[in-house]
């Protein structure tokens, strides 16, 4: 319940971040005569700066909210894309078996054995290093897109494996055999009989998977393969403020850490609830 409240509140703030007055100064540096004093003040949360400021005097609260926006979009986009692709491939492999299964299994193994950092280097470091990407309807930062791409590719194989295993057991059920007996084609069986029964498991996996991806994004940020400013992600903020802990900048690390932890925890709780509700056995990433 708390998890839902936390995620709901966070989503609300993330969506409306651009219009809420108190989170608009994500990138404002203090100017004028008092600036130096204000920056020296950094760290301590105050009524003016709820979460304190970082070493450059930027409002940590506002940055955290914008980071929420960016982190959640990255996580959600990746998991949805991975679920669609991985789910489809997993269903095909689990349903048709035979050669489909062999080829796809090898493909999943390749994806699992491919070192993540090399993938990140190539995608984020080289091909989507900087600039904007024109997607027709809207443009977005190439780097942003690159991070999503990396996370999607990384999560396809584990998701596909889960879906494959589930499909294999579902395909043996009586109602599937009955549908077959009534003359339903493969497509109909897949879409009408198997897919609806896969959905609860997929929902559960989506939540726990999202939690894993948020952490993975943090890891990428630590290696320097994440988004660009002005909008940070939580991982980016933690990594950025890390050297300043010693110099009293601990608050700028503490708050993004807390946000990230609570969010990951909430998604895990949600995934767990869904899994229990539908009595799904261990289906973690």
């Amino acid at each position: 319940m708390l998890a839902v409240v936390w995620l709901g509140g966070l989503t609300f703030l993330a969506i409306f971040a651009n219009w809420l007055p108190f989170v608009r100064r994500y990138n404002e540096f203090p100017k004028g005569p008092g600036a130096r004093k204000l920056v020296a003040y950094r760290g301590k949360p105050s009524s003016d700066y709820w979460f304190g400021t970082d070493k450059l005097g930027r409002d940590t609260f506002a940055r955290c909210i914008y980071a929420a926006q960016k982190t959640l979009v990255i996580g959600a986009a990746s998991i949805v894309a991975a679920l669609v692709i991985g789910g489809l491939l997993g269903m095909l492999a689990g349903y048709f078996r035979g050669w489909y299964d062999r080829v796809l299994t090898v493909m999943f193994d390749v994806l699992l054995a491919f070192p993540a950092i090399v993938l990140a280097l190539i995608v984020v470091g080289r091909f989507f290093a900087s600039g904007d990407l024109n997607l027709g309807l809207f443009t977005m930062e190439k780097r942003f897109f690159g991070v999503i791409l990396v996370l999607t590719v990384l999560s396809i194989a584990p998701l596909a494996r889960i879906v494959r295993a589930q499909t294999m057991s579902l395909a043996q059920r009586e109602y599937v055999l009955a549908a077959r007996g009534l003359g339903a084609g493969n497509l109909r069986v897949l879409v009408r009989e198997i897919l609806p029964n896969l959905l609860p498991a997929m929902f559960s996996v989506a939540f726990t998977g999202l939690a894993v991806l948020l952490v993975a994004e943090g890891g990428l940020a630590f290696l320097g393969f994440s988004v660009q400013l002005p909008f940070p992600t939580w991982g980016f903020m933690i990594n950025e403020a890390r050297p300043d802990i010693v110099k009293g900048g601990g608050w700028a690390v503490f708050f993004p850490c807390t946000m990230l932890f609570l969010t990951v925890l909430s998604f895990n709780v949600l995934g767990d609830r869904v899994a229990r509700r539908f009595d799904i056995r261990e289906a973690t990433l």
Partner: protein, 319 residues
Amino acid sequence: MRYLLQRLLQLVVVFLIVTFVAMVAIQGASRDPARDLAGPLSSNEERVEQIRQQYHLDRAYPIRYAYWLKNIVTLDLGTSPTNNLEVRTLIGQRAPVTLLLGLYAILFALLIAVPVAVYSAYRRDGPFDRIVSGATFAIVSLPNIILAVLLGYFFATKWRIFTYAASKIWPWDNPVLHVKNFALPTIVLGLGLSAIFVRLLRADLVNTLQSDFIVMARAKGLSPRRILWRHALRSSLFSLMTSVALQFGGILGGAVVVEQIYALPGMGLLLFQAVQTKDLLVVQACAALFALAVVLVNFVVDLLYAVVDPRIRHARALG
């Protein structure tokens, strides 16, 4: 047997595909691989040309790959321009560190997880079990970057109990410093693992404890301790073993981040630095080694399945 051979072949194919794709991607992402390999500051055209010839960079990818495979077999991996060391030597120095870190992390996790899980399962739904269940859930949700930063701050910077990796990292160099260097990375990698193991083993044990042979053992008058440790744990160890092996890829991925944070000179840090300095041969070698590790562990799991449980062996051989 036939199943295992088939699986082995499959994994060899996987390894070949991964290394080939990695090579094409790594070299393809570079504007000019030969120039990168000549070293970051080299503007000597002759040298660049010589390297192009030496590593066959003017040939098509399949041919390059064939040469690379040949070199892998003879362990002649070329020279890293940034360190001026042979890649082979470099990896020989770094790989044991990561291997050690991984082993420590798994040992640490198991040492915590097994007693905790056994006791939780024994007193199921008791206060201890509830606390453990909550705690493991929280720990699973605790990102290792957060853990790494917080532990690093308190234990290394503030209280100075442990160190960010110093020079003497081997146990035979200086055992005390060795422990100080490895403690934090081990905890960061191992804590999350232990939580995963506890949850898995507890669930498995709870199931096992309800099965007939346990009732039988109890009816024979065996002590609860003996039943727990000798009878129940043995049959549950199997799924734990599988889980340990399956977490291996994740441990390697985590090692890259943790080694970077704690400046521990292992494969992860090597790969990270090689990526930064465009040391293509090192990146390729590291990628190959990581892939090899994952593939090998997968194969060992399959092997264990077959050895430990004859039912699986026969079922799969038939199917």
